[in-house]
Amino acid sequence: MSIVRRSQQWGTFARMWHVFDATWQDPYQSSQIIAKYLLGRHKPISHPMNRCGDHVVVINSSEIALRGDEWQMRVYFHHDTYHGGASWTKAWELHKKDPTMIMKKAVYRALGNNLTRHQAYARLHVFLDDKIPLEIQQNLSSQIKQLRPVPQRLDQISPEELENFPQIVKLPETYVLT
């Protein structure tokens, strides 16, 4: 193989590092996309026998948003193999214990059940906030688009802006809203 071919191959089969911001994202929908990147299914060269998966760094996993009443209804099962060792943890409890766990479990499930799962899962790095180690930050080279835009919350808008926002009706200060 000539050095030109070697270099071409090195570039083609490069392991990229993507970042995904999980703020206000549904972990179970976004894990479908993340799994695609981890398994390399987003590349035109992908093939079941071709290990071309990328690394994905998920940040702000503590800010995820579950749909509807899933925080109460979604339950995680664990058994410690002893009698009476079964335990059921609700999503909000698990999230309180470890804010990265729901994201990790969602991606683990989305990777599918075959031998590539563990290698692909090892390429997932989840962080609860946007503070990530410098050596990982330097590896990054691309960003995965969020599923939905993050809406602005009322408490994040500065009071000046709220003051200057055009109003249809200017209510008198003495008017009491009940």
Binding site: S2, I3, V4, A14, W17
Partner: protein
């Protein structure tokens, strides 16, 4: 199906009696197996298996084979020249010695091919270089010479030579025929064709048989400049442009075992080429190499070597020391 195949294979191996058996019997007889085992055992016990060159077999008809050689290649070799091209010096010496042993005094009426070989070497070298110059007008002289050396190397020519069927026709003392002899025979054939027809026809012969093998080769594997950055800067300097400047245009996995850097080289903000590598130095080298290959028109996307151009004299390409784009474009 399998049965048929076994039968045919046996037919080739067994004496005639067994063959008759195969035709008239539905199955293979019980006696066949022990016989075959015995035969194999004996063959294995033989210390020096006798093998003879094909042209020593009694059914060998040399004249017919020479005629077939001519026809197969659709060439017009003159018969005496063809005969001479296949006759090596060692064969004549061997024959004369044998005659002396028997007691015959008369001289052999054979001419060896040494003269043809020397002439053929010159012709082949000339033709190949001319054609490569024509077909790769932007490549530097070093590249042309490297390609020529590759094409006219002993192994390559020997392969070509045996490919056109010279192996059994060669008259030489050695057996099996060495690569050098095969190569020399090819040169002798080239010269014989030159004397039989003309130089242009020989050019086509060499183009079709030797040069066309380049079409499937990666040329960079055969020739690759050693220090591309230095060469690139020399060329840019000669053309009066700014020195090459490299910039990282992409990188990923820097702190891992498999980092990838994508580096491009620019001259006065003009893009020259880009390359990938596992370190910055490597990627820079590849970028410079890419820029060079772009200039020399040796990329994958550049025009492939065509094997149907007419044979004519071409200008000699300039070497790396004096290569300039403005001369060519």
């Amino acid at each position: 199906m399998f049965r048929l195949r076994v039968c045919t294979r046996l037919a080739a191996q067994l004496p005639r009696a067994a063959l008759v058996n195969q035709i008239f019997q539905r199955e293979i007889k019980r006696s066949v197996r022990p016989v075959l085992i015995e035969l194999t055992k004996r063959k294995r016990m033989q210390k020096n298996p006798i093998s003879q060159p094909r042209n020593k077999w009694i059914d060998w008809n040399r004249d017919a084979e020479l005629y077939a050689f001519n026809q197969r290649l659709s060439e017009k070799f003159k018969t005496d020249l063809l005969e001479q091209a296949f006759t090596h010096r060692s064969y004549i010496i061997q024959e004369e010695d044998e005659r002396k042993k028997v007691g015959l005094e008369s001289q052999l009426q054979l001419v060896d091919n040494q003269e043809l070989i020397d002439e053929g070497k010159q012709i082949a070298s000339l033709v190949v270089e001319n054609y490569l110059n024509e077909v790769l007008p932007l490549a530097p002289r070093e590249c042309i010479l490297a390609l020529k050396n590759y094409l006219l190397a002993e192994g390559n020519l020997a392969k070509t030579s045996s490919g056109i069927g010279t192996k059994d026709l060669i008259l030489t003392a050695e057996y099996p025929v060495s690569e050098e002899t095969l190569m020399n025979t090819f040169y002798a054939l080239v010269s014989a064709l030159n004397r039989s027809v003309d130089l242009e026809h020989v050019g086509k012969f060499i183009r079709d048989i030797v040069i066309s093998t380049l079409a499937e080769k990666d040329l960079i594997e055969i020739w690759c400049p050693e220090d591309p950055m230095e060469i690139l800067n020399d060329i840019l300097d000669r053309e009066g442009r700014a020195y090459a400047e490299s910039r990282i245009i992409g990188q990923t996995g820097v702190n891992t075992l498999i980092p990838v850097y994508n580096i491009a080289v620019y001259s006065n903000k003009e893009f020259l080429g880009s390359g990938m590598g596992d370190s910055i130095e490597e990627a820079e080298k590849m970028a410079a190499l890419n820029a060079l290959l772009r200039m020399f028109d040796l990329l994958d996307s550049s025009k492939p070597i065509s094997c149907n151009l007419p044979i004519r004299d071409a200008e000699c390409n300039s070497s790396l020391e004096s290569w300039k784009r403005s001369d060519k474009v």
